[in-house]
């Protein structure tokens, strides 16, 4: 019923829907309402994010003060993994691996896209709900189960997966090679398998909803950029996640069934294996065929959210709406033919490398278009600094800063000497980590009134933003210099540099202390957010219907959530969503449901 889009069908179907009492279980737990599911995603992701951030603080302490006893470490890890308060080497790798996995998949894929696609797609398109409420519910439950499995994997006796978030075999396939490749990796693989299933259910639902459930007048070219971003993200997810699933399944086979997809000629722990003919590089191809689109699965929703927020708070139409869509499509397309730039020095044919240099650097063009369009949107605007707006501006800054270093890494010749160094870690944390997290914060601050019917505190939002951007850059800017000194990533202790190059040793050790201090500061700053978030849910002032004076449809729904979103008929759309400060209009915004005035031209 909810799937029927057109207004005249729904008028009678939904009035009674809004009234009948729902039980606690069907409203809060096994909910099929997209708004509740979105909030469930958000809560789960916030929890996972806190865990992953805590893990990063734990290993940052080790990196800044290697070998020194820390009560903080022994409190969290106990005698087994931090004997005497000093982190164990195995657990260091485990922390790094799980930090990366949770951040990339559970916070920035499940959390970001899951939360905002769910909340905004039906609301901004003028739909009663997702195409399939049931599949939508399943997608959340798969996500939750995979989250729980991933968390459980940290508590097994042999430790969590330790082969890095990319779990390259043979390391991840051989329990003899590292302790985490036992049960820990098995759980990792099962968790990711379930995660992928959930992500596919979600993505298919988003795509179908965008195609079929747009309200009357909501042409594709009148959709807000948020929806375009979620739509393209969902397509990327549907096309690439199955490849990761197959990569994982083959790895499971190698681990459990004795096949040799990725293994060949190996002697490990004194044991001569019979596997022959497999190729570890095959895994890398499969992994990065997901892995690179994944970067944009993480980033595009953040860019979509910030497009909307920057336009609203500059009180200007987004500059180059069609160019923004075009560049997102171009980025989406190109993201499928660049994967091997992660593999320039794996022994892959250098000619193949050249091709990937070319395609990879092409992505810089649509990215540049997006950046300039953002900047032009600010130009001659009338900017209002809401916390959401500030995070969106922060996003553009980190997208630039992290993007330009990508040009160095995409250049195969330069990649030779900085591949797998801390420079890479710095690059992707700025461009993907900070940008996507900023986008997520921007989204939470902006749509909090829609999600909870309450307002978050502005002042605390400002404090949170400034502390976060300063510490974010404080962590990752110096990290580039650590990498340029030659420091490889995933090293447990950089003081080994003292044995051959004391200059580099000094640089690395100094900067590592600075980085860790900023990391701790940044984590503490998130407490301000968490307080603001949870306190506002219960005690925040009631939100007005359209707090930011925005044009899109979600602000035409009542503040109190009802099943089916709009009490009466579905709204009809008459214009694009970016009519801000349109000359001749009385106010500086015109909602999409307002018909064109006589003689008025659509943008």
């Amino acid at each position: 019923m909810a799937a029927v889009a057109h207004g005249h069908h729904d008028a009678h179907g939904h009035d009674d829907h809004g009234h009948h009492e729902e039980s606690f279980v069907s409203k809060y737990i096994f909910s099929q309402d997209h708004k509740m599911i979105g909030k469930q995603f958000l809560m789960t992701a916030v929890f996972m994010g806190i865990v992953a951030m805590l893990l990063s603080v734990l290993f940052r302490i080790q990196l800044a003060w290697p070998g020194e006893s820390s009560d903080f470490l022994s409190f969290f890890l106990g005698e087994k993994w931090a004997p005497g308060g000093v982190l164990k080497e195995d657990m260091y790798l485990g922390l790094v691996t799980i930090h990366g996995t949770i951040m990339v998949f559970f916070l920035l894929t499940g959390g970001l896209s899951g939360t905002f696609s769910n909340i905004l797609i039906p609301l901004q398109l003028g739909a009663r709900d997702m195409a399939s409420g049931f599949l939508n519910m399943l997608s959340y439950w798969f996500f939750l189960v995979s989250s729980i499995l991933m968390l459980c994997s940290m508590f097994v006796e042999t430790g969590p997966a330790m082969a890095g978030w990319t779990i390259y075999p043979p390391l991840s396939a051989l329990p003899q090679a590292v302790s985490g490749s036992g049960l820990g990796t098995t759980l990792w693989l099962f968790s990711m398998t379930i995660f992928i299933a959930g992500s596919l259910l979600g993505s298919l639902n988003y795509i179908v909803t965008v195609f079929n459930l747009r309200t009357i007048g909501m042409k594709m070219t009148r959709m807000p950029l948020t929806i375009w971003a979620f739509f393209i993200t969902a397509i990327l997810g549907v096309l690439s996640f199955p490849v990761l699933l197959s990569a994982c399944l083959l790895l499971v086979m190698d681990r459990l069934a004795g096949t040799s997809f990725y293994l060949s000629d190996i002697i490990v722990g004194g044991e001569m294996l019979t596997n022959h003919g497999g190729s570890p590089i095959l895994f890398q191809h499969l992994f990065w065929f997901l892995g690179h689109p994944e970067v944009y699965i993480v980033l595009l929703p953040a860019l979509g959210l910030s497009s909307e927020i920057i336009s609203i708070n500059s009180r200007k139409p987004i500059f180059g709406y069609r160019a923004m869509i075009g560049s997102m499509l171009a980025i989406g397309f190109l993201s499928f033919i660049v994967w091997a730039h992660h593999m320039f020095i794996t022994g892959m044919n250098p000619f193949l490398g050249s091709v990937f240099v070319f395609t990879t650097l092409l992505i810089a063009i649509p990215s540049a278009v997006k950046v300039f369009n953002y900047i032009t949107t600010l130009w001659k605007g009338s900017i209002i600094f809401t916390p959401a707006m500030m995070f969106a501006i922060g996003l553009v800054s980190t997208f630039i800063t992290g993007g330009v270093t990508g040009i160095i890494l995409a250049d195969a010749a330069l990649d030779i000497s900085i591949h797998d160094t801390m420079f890479v870690v710095a690059h992707f944390h700025v461009v993907m980590g900070l940008s996507a997290v900023f986008g997520m914060f921007a989204g939470v601050y902006h749509w909090f009134p829609k999600m909870y019917g309450k307002m978050m505190n502005l002042k605390l939002g400002y404090v949170h933003f400034w502390l976060t951007i300063v510490s974010g850059y404080g962590v990752f800017f110096p990290m580039h210099f650590v990498g340029l000194s030659g420091a490889p990533r995933r090293y447990y202790d950089y003081s080994v540099y003292g044995e051959f190059d004391t200059n580099a040793f000094n640089i690395i050790m100094d900067l590592n202390v600075i980085i860790t201090i900023f990391a701790i500061l940044g984590s503490l700053a998130q407490l301000v957010f968490l307080f603001n978030f949870f306190y506002s849910i219960y005690r925040g002032p009631k939100a007005p219907q359209n707090p930011w004076k925005a044009n899109t449809l979600e602000w035409t729904t009542p503040v109190e959530h009802i099943h089916g979103n709009w009490p009466g008929e579905l709204p009809t759309v008459h214009r694009w969503p970016y009519d801000y400060s349109k000359p001749g209009a009385e106010e500086d915004f015109i909602s999409q449901i307002v018909p064109l005035a006589e003689g008025e031209e659509e943008h």
Binding site: I281, G320, M390, I407, I507
Partner: protein, 414 residues
């Protein structure tokens, strides 16, 4: 005791902080006679100024980092192609730093300049084909330059080594490196991982090593016969898990022994010589100035990465696959120490692909010698070809003089 006190203080301070936050929260909403959705002009202007201040701090921080820590903490390149790469890195740096400054400046400057002002309405400016054309075409042109320059260097760095370049194999395992010089014939002997035994760690292939591997697998302490007799011995009680393990071990070894016999049948004795004259070298890798080296990389267990930060070279080592990389060292260790102004400096080969818990310890010192020094070092290794070592070990299990070897090597540098 001390740590518990600190924990207590932290908890108390945390509670106070939360209480204060609640007060700020409540007061700030009460004091304002507007909702949280309306940003006051004061707040708005303050944040606009902070945007500008942040930009100054941000740029200042970057410049400070640049001045303090420099382009590259690795020092100048020490290989021929490395100079080209450093030049390319500088070109790219100039471009991206210019873009970084320009776009970040515009972003923060506009944020500050166009803050909401009473009576000023935003400009309705939705698109402009000309502008959009400019910022599509200009980046495209700049990127074309970057791509062309980059590919040129990439092709040079990865082209096939010249035929008379010296071949060295770098063998990686958890958690160390072993080098194998190709000896007088400049030809690396064949290998097969199944030939790995205690006195043939690199699994080189010769008629003798094949026989010895077969013998070992059949009659060794954990050989097929030993396992089989243990499994069949009625007097030994085995825990089920152990028995299972031994059964699978046995079947694995039976499979391997068949392959070894096939290898023996197909083996051509003529290739033995190329393996026998190879020279195996641990701990320190000695290279000769201005000589082109083609490194062949091998891995025994998991993926490692041979990372030579100072030579601007890197290649993964992949089990089951031989990978290659070539470079010409063009500065000796002694000269580099002077240049780096650091008496203790050494070139190094590190592992740069996560490979297990001691990943960070996996390295090998590299010493670049002048041609004469290198020649005299090579002389000390002449009597230590694989053949010498192998048969010496067969005759007398403990080889004396591992220490004296290292000593002579040190003497050569001095």
């Amino acid at each position: 005791m001390g740590s518990k006190l600190i924990a207590l203080i932290v908890i108390v301070l945390g509670v106070i902080a939360i209480a204060q936050l609640v007060r700020v929260y409540e007061l700030s909403s009460k004091l304002r006679n507007r909702g949280e959705h309306e940003v006051s002009t004061g707040d708005n202007n303050l944040n606009a100024k902070l945007m500008l201040a942040f930009m100054v701090f941000f740029f200042g921080g970057f410049i400070w980092l640049m001045l303090t820590y420099g382009w590259s903490g690795r020092g100048d390149a020490a290989s021929v192609h490395g100079h080209g790469l450093d030049w390319l890195l500088n070109v790219n740096y100039v471009i991206i730093i210019a873009v970084f400054f320009l776009t970040n400046f515009l972003l923060f400057f506009f944020s500050w300049k166009y803050v909401r002002k009473a009576g000023v309405k935003a400009l309705y400016f939705s698109h402009d084909n000309k502008l959009e054309m400019i910022w599509t075409v200009v980046p495209a042109c700049v990127l074309a330059v970057i791509i062309i320059l980059g590919l040129k260097q990439w092709n040079e760095a990865t082209s096939a080594a010249v035929t008379d370049s010296t071949r060295i194999e770098l063998f990686s395992k958890q958690f160390d490196w072993t080098a194998r010089y190709s000896g007088l014939d400049n030809k690396l002997g064949k290998f097969d991982y199944k030939l790995t035994t205690d006195n043939n760690e690199l699994a080189l292939m010769t008629s003798e090593t094949i026989d010895s591997a077969i013998f070992n697998m059949e009659n060794g302490v954990t050989g097929i016969k030993a396992i089989a007799s243990k499994l069949n011995d009625k007097n030994i009680m085995l825990v089920p898990e152990d028995r299972e393990k031994m059964v699978s071990d046995l079947s694995r070894k039976q499979q391997l022994i068949r392959l070894l016999y096939q290898m023996k049948a197909r083996h051509n004795k003529n290739v033995d010589a190329s393996a026998w004259d190879d020279i195996i070298q641990k701990d320190t890798l000695y290279l000769c100035l201005n000589k082109e080296y083609e490194f062949n990389f091998r891995s025994k267990d998991v993926i490692h990465s041979a990372y030579f930060p100072h030579f601007r070279a890197q290649m993964n080592t992949v089990p089951g696959l031989t990978t290659r990389f070539k470079f010409i060292p063009d500065i000796t260790s002694v000269e580099m120490r002077k240049k780096m102004n650091n008496e203790k400096f050494n070139f190094v080969l590190m592992c740069n692909k996560i490979c297990g818990n001691a990943h960070y310890k996996m390295k090998m010192i590299i010493v670049v010698l002048s041609p004469t020094e290198f020649k005299s070092w090579m002389k000390t290794k002449q009597k230590q070809s694989f053949k010498d070592i192998y048969f010496a070990a067969a005759a007398e299990p403990v080889v004396a003089g591992a220490d004296s070897l290292a000593l002579t090597a040190e003497a050569v540098i001095k």
